[in-house]
């Protein structure tokens, strides 16, 4: 689905990952101006980042996270050339993931 743009860089043993995820993050509280109907809640609930089979970051999100969320975090223990995998699951069960090589 290609909803994740990701970049990862390692400096002095600390890897910084930046990701921009394309997702409407609808809260379920907004009405469609044209139809008057409530737009159903559609937001990412969990984001997981894995490195060599280990989960290095789990994020539990809710409706308060904005549309097209930008995420950045750091962790230790990875080296340049390693592959990272970022995946998300939303409240409707939709999911997506992307891989990036640490530079």
């Amino acid at each position: 689905m290609a909803s994740i743009k990701m970049r990862a860089k390692v400096t002095d043993g600390v890897t910084t990952i930046k990701a921009l995820i394309s997702h409407p993050m609808d809260t379920g509280l907004v009405k469609d101006k044209k139809t008057g109907k409530t737009i159903p809640a559609h937001f990412i609930q969990e984001v997981v980042c894995q490195h060599k089979g280990t989960t290095v970051m789990t994020a539990n999100w809710g409706a308060a996270i904005s549309k097209n969320p930008y995420l950045s975090f750091k962790f230790k223990g990875a080296a340049a050339g390693d592959t990272l995998s970022l995946s998300w699951v939303d409240n409707t069960g939709e999911k997506d993931s992307a891989d990036a090589t640490i530079k």
Binding site: K5, A19, L20, N68
Partner: protein, 279 residues
């Protein structure tokens, strides 16, 4: 009849100095640049394209961080997709633009002598659509902003060089119309664009800084955090008019197109750096 003739000859001899000569666009531009150079002596000319981030270190730091992974990246990708997708009749946007639409966005707006109108990029995008049997796009946000974002991205670094030919009265009239809009007070708050963006540029307006008018258009279309999305220049013009409680003009109206013509001319010599990210 003889008296009239004498009077006319006399006036001619006097050189008709009863009316002051109107400043040329070139003179306006020189004055504009001198004003801002004086107001922000530490800002290098090229940095004006970064708006308030050229005059405030703290917000620049935050903005530079955002620029490492900018929110408008999604719009550029989307815009590229839309730009390359052929119409139902098989033609593409590339067929409507010089150089296939790549690296030319900074040439807009320009004055088209044949039609007597200021032609903007968005207007050309929609003209391309309608002439190829497609529905026109909404003017302020969505697909048109995405396509404009992509086209401007391909123009990054190109120098803006809008022409206002001194021998074309209609072009000068459009320029003057834009200039008048910029300096005229309007709305319940009775303020002109210049009041904030020239005379009060660099000052605070509640929690925001007022950007200088020079270099103000170079980063459009813009991703505004306030909008949570990307929008066109005319969308912002409408917003600004509303903020001084004036009734906004329609996007792509003659008024806003003229304003864009004047406004972009004032950024001549600066690099195009769209799409941009702003608060």
């Amino acid at each position: 009849m003889k008296k009239l003739l004498t009077a006319t000859v006399l006036l001619g001899l006097l050189g008709g100095f009863t009316l002051p000569a109107q400043a040329t666009p070139q003179e306006d531009l020189a004055e504009f640049r001198a004003y801002f150079k004086n107001r922000f002596p530490n800002t290098p000319f090229n940095d004006y394209i970064n708006g308030v981030y050229s005059i405030d270190a703290a917000s620049r730091e935050q903005w530079e961080e955002i620029e490492e992974f900018p929110p408008y990246e999604l719009n550029i990708s989307k815009g590229e997709e839309l730009f390359n997708k052929p119409f139902a009749n098989g033609k593409t946007y590339a067929d409507c633009f010089v150089n296939g639409g790549i690296g030319i966005a900074e040439r807009y707006p320009f004055f088209d002598s044949a039609s007597g109108k200021v032609i903007t990029l968005e207007a050309t995008i929609n003209a391309c659509r309608t002439s190829n049997g497609e529905e026109p796009l909404d003017w302020q946000k969505g697909a048109i902003a995405d396509i404009s974002a992509y086209m401007h991205y391909t123009s990054r670094g190109n120098i803006i060089n809008i022409q206002v030919p001194n021998d074309d009265a209609a072009a000068l009239a459009a320029y003057e119309r834009g200039k008048n809009h910029f300096y005229a007070k309007r709305g319940q708050l009775n303020m002109a664009c210049a009041d904030c963006h020239v005379y009060s540029s660099g000052n605070k307006i509640r929690a925001d800084l007022l950007s200088p008018a020079i270099g103000q258009v170079t980063h459009f279309p813009v991703y505004r955090s306030k909008w949570g999305g990307i929008g066109t220049l005319h969308r912002r013009y409408g917003g600004c008019n509303k903020q001084v409680r004036a009734k906004p003009y329609k996007p792509q109206s003659d008024e806003y197109s003229a304003l864009e013509y004047f406004h972009t001319y004032m950024s001549n010599g600066l690099e195009s750096n769209g799409p941009g990210a702003r608060k």
